[in-house]
């Protein structure tokens, strides 16, 4: 039997906006995501392990807890690789199916996000690469600055539709466009 995988936002997004605006919400169709839980006093070793892997994106969740993202790897191979890398110093849980990544970018991205996010988003206050768990509107998300004017939100799957609806409402003022990755060409 061949089972089909279906993105939780498939029916909400469909083919997305017809025109890509300068402010855009992009949803990659598949991202491998794992929770890593450090064993006591092994935090430094886990961080060193991530660094050694080189290509992994780490997102802070709590002391000794991270979400690890990979845009190229499959979920099972990420879980396997992390488990191998972090044997006896951390536990690894696949969350690729339980989390959804949304990427917001554009010149007005901070003004859009300030409608849901309470932290100071000024470039001087929240550096590229920084990540935290926080509340966006009513919904808990992992939040990261992934570029100069680009932020990524990782949300629990069951909340993804509501978060999408909220973000689109927040972005309405700037005609925020949206779609799955690879759906629309860049405006320039």
């Amino acid at each position: 039997m061949l089972f089909q995988s279906r993105h939780p936002l498939e029916s909400k997004i469909g083919s997305g906006s017809s025109i890509r605006a300068v402010d855009h919400l992009e949803i990659p169709r598949s991202v491998a995501i794992a929770t890593v839980l450090s064993h006591p006093d092994e935090t430094a070793a886990v961080v060193a392990g991530f660094a050694a892997a080189g290509d992994l994106v780490m997102r802070n969740v709590a002391p000794g807890e991270w979400l690890v993202l990979s845009h190229i790897e499959r979920s099972d191979s990420l879980e396997r690789r992390l488990s191998g890398l972090l044997t006896d110093i951390a536990d690894v849980v696949d969350q690729s199916e339980g989390r959804v990544l949304l990427r917001l970018s554009g010149p007005n991205v901070r003004r859009i996000l300030a409608k849901g996010v309470a932290i100071d988003l000024d470039p001087s206050a929240f550096a590229i690469g920084q990540s935290v768990n926080l509340r966006c509107g009513h919904i808990a998300v992992n939040f990261a600055r992934s570029g100069e004017n680009e932020f990524e939100l990782v949300v629990m799957r069951s909340f993804a539709e509501s978060l999408l609806e909220d973000l689109l409402l927040m972005g309405r003022e700037f005609d925020l466009s949206y779609g799955f990755s690879g759906g629309l060409a860049d405006p320039d």
Binding site: V61, A62, P63, E65, A118, I119, D120, V132, N133, L134, R135, A140
Partner: protein
Amino acid sequence: MASLIHCPHCGIRPKEEFTVRGDASLVRPEPDASDEAWHEYVHIRANPRGRTREHWQHLYGCRRFLVVERDTVTHEVYSVTDGAAAARGGSR
């Protein structure tokens, strides 16, 4: 409208990200402690006016239980520290 709590792990956040569990000075009695000790622990709360230490969980952030030392009259927050560290140190 708002007030801010400085989570030692996540930074400055509005109080809406937290839930308050209550008195952080409680210590769970030993299983064979007296009835009075258990009764006090489970049922009796001081509700002090002024400086108090409470457990606040950063529910929308790191999910850690924090010890928030604050004034119940002015809501001035004196300190916010990780609760597990305090519990381990036995300084509850």
